[in-house]
C-alpha cells in the first residue's frame, strides 16, 4: 500500500472522471441492494406453504347450473368423478389455495361482535375433503360425521365445527389454548376442534404477510348452496390425465353447466398462475440488475483503458526506473479499489434512502442490513474484474516507451 499516496495525488488531478465513476458505482450500489432485496422478497413470497398436497390435487369448477338442481348435480358429478380410473378421492369444496376466494369474513371472539379479531378465509369441504387436501393436523381432531352441517349461508349452519391454522390460532389466542374456543361472524358461531400446521388462503390477506395463512376450514354437507367446485386427488403422475378426463366427464354428466376453465386446473398450475406476475417482476428486476452491472463494468473498462493509454509514457518511465509488472498492475487495481470504495460509501447512504422512499411509496418492508455489505462486495468484485484487462495491458507496457517522445 506504499503506492497509496501517489494514487490519491493522481486521482485528485482526475477529479471529474473519478467522481463520475464513483457516482455511477454509488447509484448502482443503491439500486443493486434494493433490487436484490425486492427479488429475494418476491421469491420468498412465492415459497408460501399452502399446506396442501399441491402435486396430487386438482379442482374442477362449474357455473351456470340451476341452484334447484344442485343437490342432484353434486351427487351425479361426484359419482362421475369417482369412476375415473386413478381418482383417489373426490369431494365438494368452496375454494382451493391459489383459486378463487369464496368467503373472507371478519371474525370476533365475543358473540356481540364488538371486537374484530381478524379477517380469515373460510374454506368449506364435504366429507373427505380435509383428508384429500392433506393438511397436517397438529392439535385436536379431524371432522367426524356429526360435524358436517348443511349450508344456508356462506358457511355451514351454526355452531359449526372448524379447524384453523396454527398462525391464525396463535393470533387469536396467544396463550396457545385454542381447542374448544368459540368465535363469531355476526350471528354465526364456530367452535375450534382442531389446528392444522398450514392452509394458505386462496389470495393474500390484507393484514400482513402472515395473514396469507389465516384460514378456517369448516365441514359442510353438499347442497343447493354448496355445489360447483370439486376437489380431485390422484397420484401426481396421473393427475393431468385425471383432470382431462374429469372435464370430459363433467361435460357429459352436466351438459347444461358451464365449465370454468380458469378455475379447473391442478393446484400446482393455479399456484404457478397466481405467482406469474411476481415471477415476471422478479425477472424484470434481475434484468435491470444484470444490465446495470454490465453497463457499470463497461464504463470502468472504458475509462480505465483511457487512463492506461493516457499514462502510457508515465508507466514506461516507472517501468524504466524499476517498477515491476506487478507494481503497475497493483497500481491500477488499488486506484479502482479506491474509486469503487468511495462510490460504495455514498451508495450505501443512497441505498438506505431509496429503501425508505420505497417503504413509504410502495409499502415495502425495511431492507435487512446485510444487503449493504453484500452489495458492496459485489461491486468491489465487479470493479476489480473490470479493471483487470486494462491493468494487465498497462503492466505489459515495455519500459522503452519512456525513451520515445510522445
Amino acid at each position: 500500500m506504499n503506492q497509496l499516496a501517489p494514487i490519491i495525488a493522481t486521482l485528485r488531478r482526475h477529479k471529474v472522471a473519478a467522481f463520475l465513476i464513483g457516482m455511477e458505482i454509488a447509484l448502482a450500489c443503491a439500486v443493486l441492494c434494493n433490487a436484490c432485496f425486492m427479488v429475494v422478497s418476491r421469491i420468498q413470497a412465492m415459497q408460501v406453504h399452502s399446506g396442501v398436497d399441491e402435486s396430487s390435487l386438482a379442482v374442477v369448477t362449474l357455473t351456470g347450473f340451476d341452484p334447484a338442481q344442485a343437490s342432484d348435480l353434486n351427487a351425479r358429478i361426484l359419482d362421475g368423478l369417482r369412476r375415473i380410473p386413478g381418482v383417489q378421492s373426490a369431494s365438494v369444496v368452496n375454494a382451493v389455495p391459489f383459486g378463487q376466494p369464496a368467503g373472507n369474513a371478519g371474525i370476533s371472539l365475543d358473540p356481540d361482535g364488538k371486537h374484530r379479531a381478524a379477517v380469515p378465509h373460510f374454506y368449506v369441504g364435504s366429507p373427505g375433503a380435509m383428508e384429500a387436501l392433506g393438511v397436517k393436523l397438529v392439535e385436536g381432531r379431524r371432522f367426524s360425521a356429526d360435524d358436517f352441517h348443511p349450508m344456508n349461508s356462506f358457511v355451514p349452519d351454526s355452531p359449526a365445527s372448524v379447524v384453523v391454522t396454527r398462525t391464525l390460532a396463535d393470533h387469536l389466542w396467544p396463550d396457545g389454548k385454542s381447542l374448544g374456543k368459540m368465535f363469531y361472524v355476526d350471528r354465526l358461531s364456530f367452535r375450534v376442534i382442531g389446528v392444522v400446521e398450514h392452509l394458505s388462503r386462496p389470495t393474500a390477506g390484507e393484514e400482513g404477510p402472515q395473514s396469507f395463512d389465516w384460514s378456517v376450514l369448516a365441514a359442510g354437507t353438499p347442497g343447493a348452496k354448496f355445489a360447483g367446485s370439486y376437489l380431485l386427488r390422484a397420484d401426481p403422475a396421473q393427475l393431468s390425465r385425471v383432470l382431462r378426463e374429469a372435464k370430459e366427464a363433467v361435460a357429459t354428466v352436466a351438459p347444461d353447466a358451464v365449465l370454468d376453465e380458469e378455475n379447473s386446473q391442478s393446484i400446482s398450475d393455479l399456484r404457478t398462475a397466481y405467482f406469474r406476475q411476481d415471477k415476471a417482476m422478479a425477472g424484470m428486476l434481475v434484468g435491470i440488475i444484470v444490465g446495470m452491472l454490465m453497463v457499470t463494468a463497461l464504463g470502468i473498462v472504458g475509462l480505465a483503458s483511457f487512463w492506461v493509454q493516457q499514462r502510457r509514457r508515465q508507466i514506461g518511465i516507472r517501468r524504466a526506473i524499476g517498477a515491476t509488472r506487478g507494481d503497475i498492475l497493483r497500481y491500477f487495481q488499488t486506484e479502482n479499489f479506491l474509486i469503487v470504495s468511495g462510490g460504495i460509501a455514498v451508495g450505501m447512504v443512497l441505498a438506505f434512502f431509496l429503501n425508505v422512499m420505497l417503504m413509504q411509496r410502495y409499502e415495502m418492508p425495511r431492507m435487512p442490513f446485510f444487503y449493504l455489505p453484500v452489495g458492496a462486495l459485489a461491486l468491489w468484485s465487479l470493479g476489480q474484474l473490470s479493471v483487470l484487462a486494462p491493468a494487465l495491458r498497462a503492466a505489459a507496457t515495455p519500459p522503452v516507451v519512456a525513451m520515445r517522445s510522445s
Binding site: 357455473t63 341452484p67 435491470i288 457499470t296 472504458g302 493516457q310
Partner: protein, 440 residues
Amino acid sequence: MFGYYFDLAIRSLRRNPVLTALMVLAIAVGIGASMTTLTVLTLLSGDPIPSRSGVLYYPQVDPDTSKDDSREPTDVLDYPSAVDMWRAKRADRQTLLVETGMKTMAPQSTARPVMAPTLVTTADFFPMFAVPFRYGHGWSADDDERRARVAVISAELNNKLFGDVDSTGKTLRVRDVDFTIVGVLDHWRPRPQFYTVRGGRMAAGDTASYYQRPQDVFMPFFTGLDVGRGTFGVYNCWQLPDDFTKLETSACNWVTLWAELDTSAKAHDYARFVADYAAQQKAMGRFSHAGNTRMRNLMQWLSFNRVVPADVSLQAWLAFAFLAICLFNTVGLLLAKFMRRSGEIGVRRALGATRGGIFMQCLVEAGVIGLVGGVGGLLLTLLGLWLVRQQPAAYADLAHLDPAMFLVTFGLSIAAAMLAGILPAYRASRVAPGLQLKTL
C-alpha cells in the same frame, strides 16, 4: 456550421468504433428500459375518457352503521341509497351499475354457453361514458322502468356468437331468459375500466385487474337484478344477510352510482344533495352517521384508488435509475474521448474556433450518439413491450408503442446524450489554443 459539426461527429465516432459502440449501447439499454416502463406507465395512468372525465362524479354516502364519520365511506353503495339518489334525477345524467357474470348463449348460434361478464346498468351508461356503438344503440329510460328484456353486447361477443354482422334484433339467452339485442358496441377499451374501480386502497398496489376489458353483456338494471338473482357479489356487508339472493334489503354495499354534472355549480349543488340525503337518512334512523359523504370526480376517484399498479411505477423508477447510471457512464466515456482529442482541439482553437464552436462540435457528437442510441433504444423498447405483452397482467395487451411515445424515445435519447455531453463538451471547450499536440 451544424452540418460541419455533424460531419466531424461521424468521423470521430467511426474512429473509435468500440468506444462508440459502448456509449451507444449504454444509451440504448437505458432508453429501452425507461421507454418500455414509461410507455406502460403512461398507458395505465392516463385519463380513461378525456372528453368527459371532468363532468363525471362518484357520490358516496356511508350506510355502514358499524362505522362513524372518522372513516372513509365504503367504496360502493347499498341498494336503497343508490336507487334513491338515482331516482331523484338531480344530475344531468346518472347511472347505476353492478357487475356480475351470467350464463349466456345465442339460440341461433352453435357456440357453447359461456359465463359472460355482465354489467347491469341504466340507460344513461352509454351516453355518459361515450360508449361507441358499431350497430344499433343503447336502451331508453323507459326500458329501465318497464324492465325490458333488451341487451347490448360487446364487439368481441358479437364476433364469437354471430360473426362480424349486425346482430341487432337477434336473441340472446341469459340464464334461460331471452333478450333482444338492441346494440353492438364498437371496440371499446377504456384504461382503466374506470366505472367499476373500487377498493384500490386495500389492494396493496396489486391493481392490474382494473385494466380488464369491459363486460360482454349489458342489460337494464332492474331487468338484470331479476334475471341474475343470486349471481351478484357484495363489496362488503355490515350485517350478515339472511339470504344472499335478496341483496336489495340486505345490509350490504354492492351498487355503484355515477353522476354527470356539466358545470361546477351543478357539482356543488349535487354534493349538497348527497350530504342532505345522508342527513335525512340519519334523521330517519337508517344511517348512524352522515358526516362522511364524498363526491370525487373521476380522476380524483382513480387517484384515491391508486389505480396504477405499484409494480408498474416501481419498474419505471428503477428503469430511470438505470438510465441515470447509463448516463453517468456516458459522461465518463465522452469526457475521456474529448480529452484524448485535446491536442486537436487546441489546434482548432489556434486556427480560430471559438469556445462556443468547440462546445457545439462536442455536443453535436453527443447528440449523434443519442440519435444512434435512440434507434437501438427503440428496438429494445419494442422488445421490452413485447415482453410485457407476454406477461399475465390484464393490461398486457395494451402495451404498444404509440406515435407520440415513438417520438419521445428519440427525444429522450438525444436529450439524455446531450445532457451527458454538456460537462465533457464544456471541459473540451476550455482546452487552451495550442501550438503543440501536447499529451495530457
